[in-house]
Amino acid sequence: MTKYVSPGDTIIGEHIDGYTRRWMWKGLRRHPVLNRQMTLYECDLNSYAEIVKACDESDLNDGCEAYKKAVGDCLEADAISIYVDSKRKYQFKVEAGISGRHKSNIFNFRDLSVCSIKIPLHNLKKVIKKLNQTKQIEQ
């Protein structure tokens, strides 16, 4: 039962509950580690996700070693991405009084789900710029 807040931290569970202030349904993706067809949601602003039912060991592949799997493990961050093993869209319920004074969108995923804390695109741009500069200096 640990709270994870660092970029890149990932949880996986059979049932995952949580909330977010803003979310987007991004469509179907093939998950690069689990190699399954999954629906991607992107949550932005004050997001929270918690494992309420652990997943089966048979659902895990090579590459899932770093994923947190215990019931109660949770992610708390501004932006998280969620892959859900379903081809249909889940409903998000709007409720007040969860995220400070703002309304929140509550989700209860009842299919295998993988949630990660996202890294801002700006950080990737910064790293690529730095790598390109280092390469030029070396030459």
């Binding site: 067809q37 801002p120 990737l124 690529i128 730095k130």
Partner: protein
């Protein structure tokens, strides 16, 4: 890149000599057309991935308005996976990510690493690992 003016005999003519330094095979890749080819491939991939997204949302709308049944919806996706599902398995090189970032400046709605990886079929984990490795 430095430009040097070279004096010539004629008072109306000036000769400019350009000295440029390129990293690795960057220069050769540009003049041989390899970079242009890679850019075209990436743009084709981006268009096709956006089309896959559109196809999925169109199919879902058809399911919602009753044009197709739940079973037809599942079967269509299962039989024509390449038309509906975006693959995110490629682990790109730093050069390719750099190119993708340059291209994404002109493409709508690329606001996160997930958007970038969905557009160009990159593995989001490999992009995130690259950032985490360099920033730590």
């Amino acid at each position: 890149m430095n430009t040097v003016e070279i004096p010539s005999n004629s008072p109306h003519m000036k000769t400019h000599l350009t000295l440029s330094i390129s990293s690795e095979n960057e220069f050769m890749d540009i003049i041989s057309g390899k970079t242009a080819e890679e850019v075209v491939d990436m743009l084709f991939k981006a268009v096709n991935n956006r089309t896959r997204e559109r196809n999925y949302f169109q199919l879902y709308c058809n399911l919602l308005d009753g044009s197709i049944t739940e079973r037809e919806f599942d079967e269509t996706i299962a039989n024509r996976e390449d038309d509906y599902i975006i693959d995110e398995s490629e682990s790109p090189s730093v050069n390719k990510v750099s190119l993708a970032l340059s291209l994404s400046r002109k493409i709508k709605d690329v606001n996160s690493i997930t958007d970038l990886s969905s557009l160009f079929s990159f593995n989001p984990n490999s992009l995130e690992n690259l950032v985490l490795k360099e920033l730590v």
